[in-house]
């Protein structure tokens, strides 16, 4: 399908924002759109293989009531963001890349990252990949 691709610069590392990105990515993949996700800073940190299933907290504006609402959804069995992303990748056309600068800053190597991450790239490669795409920053 010739749908416009989606590019997401995923910067934030809290579970609510990671989930928002996973929802946007999987919805686009279901429409047959290609999706390119560029992981920076705290988002990249959340993709460490040994921490991906940890509780990454919520954005400060969530507050106690927001946290209770999110916890209730989880208790009902809502898929965590990394499972939603795995499903999006199964649909096809979804690529997740680590930002090489963030890798340096956080002293992360590719061996530290979860298998959802396809590789490492710099900002130039990201722009080329995202050339004709709709761009989101989360």
């Amino acid at each position: 399908m010739d749908e416009k691709p989606l590019a997401i610069v995923l910067f934030s590392g809290t579970d609510d924002k990671l989930n928002a990105a996973a929802v946007m990515a999987s919805g686009a993949a279901a429409l047959g759109r290609r999706v390119h996700i560029f992981l920076q800073y705290w988002a990249l940190d959340a993709f460490r293989a040994d921490r991906i299933e940890d509780d990454h907290g919520l954005a400060p504006e969530a507050g106690a009531a927001g946290k209770a609402a999110v916890d209730a959804l989880r208790a009902e069995g809502q898929a965590p963001w990394y499972e939603t992303l795995a499903m999006a990748k199964e649909l096809g056309g979804v690529e997740i890349m680590a930002c090489s600068l963030s890798m340096d800053v956080l002293r992360i190597t590719e061996d530290d990252l979860h298998e959802l991450v396809d590789g490492t790239e710099g900002v130039t490669a990201f722009y080329l990949a995202a050339d004709d795409a709709q761009l989101l920053f989360i």
Binding site: L31, A88, L91
Partner: protein, 76 residues
């Protein structure tokens, strides 16, 4: 009307899971066959309309009973 080839039970799942699970399911369904989807997400009404318009699949039947939306989709 021919028989249902595959049923996707997406009841209780939040957006975008009903669409994602349906998109996964239709990959294994031959063209022209019918997929039945059951969902409770109220957003699924607009979402399935948009998804079928974009993917070329067609909603041939749509009902709602007791908070459960039922869509029958013909695979393009």
């Amino acid at each position: 009307m021919s028989d249902i080839h595959t049923t996707v039970d997406a009841k209780g799942l939040s957006c975008p899971m009903p669409i994602v699970k349906t998109a996964q399911a239709v990959k294994n369904v031959p063209a022209g066959e019918l997929v039945e989807v059951l969902a409770t997400d109220p957003g699924s009404v607009k979402d399935f309309a948009a998804w079928t318009r974009s993917t070329g699949n067609a909603i041939v039947e749509q009902t709602e009973a007791d908070g459960v939306y039922r869509f029958v989709i013909k695979r393009a």
